[in-house]
């Protein structure tokens, strides 16, 4: 992989740091009136999701990370791996393990398209779309006429995820959920 100098660091650039693939979040150039300039950098460790703050001498460089973010459709799970297929017509498939899948398991739906991050060709994380539509499989009976205000209750969705929903929601309703917060948005 190519090396990238601090002045090429941009938000979204993927680099290797301490043997871990990282995505640069922020790069701040710091220079005292006289003397050495530095870059204060925030990076997300793509393996753990943790954010690191590091300082580099300006002009120092890091090796690029072989990281690709691909749009892939979820197919099925065999219990150990969750299989995804590229949406570009190539039918190329990759299996993500439990660690790579992480919390996204709560939002997995067949034929939905996810962003799969590959490091050295293998999936290390799976990001769901910001909004997803899922059916309710279990919740207390809905209260007629109770539309907008007042109270909420838990509802279990087809994926097993539990979200807080308004009282009028019934089993079998299709709901729109914000996957970033896990919040109910509306009935779909």
């Amino acid at each position: 992989m190519a090396n990238y100098s601090t002045n090429e660091f941009r938000s979204g650039l993927k680099v290797m740091l301490d043997g871990e693939p990282c995505s640069i979040l922020e790069n701040e150039y710091v220079k005292p009136g006289k003397g050495q300039a530095f870059n204060r950098v925030k990076l997300r460790n793509l393996n753990t999701g943790r954010v690191w703050e590091r300082t580099f001498k300006s002009g120092e460089s890091l090796e690029g990370a072989d990281v690709m973010e691909l749009d892939m459709e979820y197919l099925y799970t065999d219990g150990d791996f969750w299989h995804f297929m590229l949406t570009d017509g190539s039918f190329e498939q990759h299996g993500a393990d439990e660690k790579a899948l992480g919390d996204t398991v709560k939002w997995l739906k067949e034929q939905e398209v996810y962003t799969v991050t590959l490091f050295n060709g293998a999936p290390i994380s799976v990001t769901p779309p910001n909004f997803i539509e899922l059916d309710v499989t279990e919740t207390d009976p809905g209260l007629k006429g109770d539309t907008a205000q007042g109270g909420s209750k838990p509802a279990t969705l087809t994926t097993g995820a539990v979200v807080r929903v308004p009282l009028f929601v019934n089993i079998g309703d299709k709901l729109r959920i914000d996957t970033r917060t896990g919040d109910y948005v509306s009935r779909a």
Binding site: N7, K31, P32, G33, F38, R40, T55
Partner: protein, 323 residues
């Protein structure tokens, strides 16, 4: 979203800019300090290892051969030649250029407000900087602190006595940097910019003075009360932003030449190209620079503080991305 052809500053900030420039011009006019204009291009450039000049070529038009010219990183050299020629106190607002310096506080092309005062020591010049800041930003509390005392207060170390190993440990602890190849000066720069600077000037204007001798740049050296060699220079901070940098100016041509050579030696070690030293400045120093102090103040940063903004582009008609 704002389009690229449009200015990066709201027009109201450009009005503020014009108004401030009027105040500044009046300030110097009232003090009988001569406004001058000097070239932005020079045959010599700043040799400072950590300043990079932009370079251009002038040719044709009856010149026998093309000349490589440095866009000046500050108007210092030309202004000192005016002082040596007997100008008396002078000031100017000059476009200055520093390659690779771009951030929310830096634009590679910026406006430097620079002035020189024959027969002023640093104390008098600091007082004058304070007066100017009060005109533009209003009255504030003022604090003075020596460089080494700041390290003692904020980090409980003495930057002059602490071992290099310990300085490197502090650098790693505070900034998460691999400090194994940092020298003393870089460790101090790092601690200063990451730990101390953000705290400076929160209550008002803070003047920092007596810097390590290695950071003298174009300032004179002297002994401090502990008997260590220090640079007779100051910097002024307000709200964590470095605003101004002043020197009791070096007048000795031999020492100046030695510093140019030393800088270029460091530049070579850093793998940077050397810079043509300013021969005409050296000649001017030989002819005699009056004892004087001078200060450079970032005019755009002054405006940032006045406008209460944190991104320099919002005070520039067109920042580098739109130039």
């Amino acid at each position: 979203m704002n389009k690229l052809w449009q200015p990066s500053a709201p027009i109201e900030n450009l009005r503020l800019r014009a108004e401030t420039l009027n105040q500044v011009r009046q300030f110097f006019y009232d003090r009988h300090i001569l406004e001058v204009e000097t070239p932005i291009l020079g045959r010599g450039g700043s040799t400072d290892p950590y300043l990079d000049s932009m370079i251009t070529v002038c040719s044709g038009g009856g010149m026998s051969e093309s000349v490589t010219l440095y866009l000046q990183t500050s108007p210092e050299f030309h202004m000192k030649r005016l002082l040596a020629a007997g100008s008396g106190p002078i000031w100017q607002l000059s476009r200055s250029f520093r390659n690779g310096e771009a951030s929310k506080r830096h634009n590679p092309e910026f406006s430097m407000l620079e002035w020189y005062r024959p027969d002023f020591n640093l104390q008098r010049l600091m007082a004058e900087v304070q007066e100017l800041l009060e005109v533009v930003l209003g009255e504030k509390a003022v604090g003075f602190s020596r460089y080494r005392d700041l390290f003692r207060t904020h980090l409980a170390i003495d930057p002059f006595d602490t071992s290099l190993d310990e300085l490197r440990c502090h650098a790693t602890d505070y900034a998460g940097i691999n400090a194994s190849d940092l020298d003393r000066e870089s460790c101090c720069d790092l601690l200063m910019s990451h730990v101390i600077e953000p705290e400076l000037g929160q209550e008002g204007f803070t003047f920092v003075y007596e810097y390590p001798a290695a950071q003298a740049a174009l300032a004179r050296l002297k002994s401090d009360q502990e008997g260590d060699l220090v640079a007779d220079r100051f910097e002024c901070y307000y709200q964590g932003l470095e605003l101004a940098n002043g020197y009791h100016e070096l007048c000795d041509p031999r020492e100046q030449k030695e510093r140019f050579s030393q800088d270029n030696k460091i530049r070579r070690q850093l793998g940077k190209s050397t810079v043509q030293e300013d021969i005409l400045l050296l000649e001017a120093l030989h002819s005699g620079l009056p004892d004087c102090s001078g200060v450079a103040l970032g005019f755009d940063r002054l405006l940032m503080l006045r406008a209460g903004i944190t991104d320099i582009s919002e005070i520039l008609s067109f920042d580098m991305n739109r130039a």
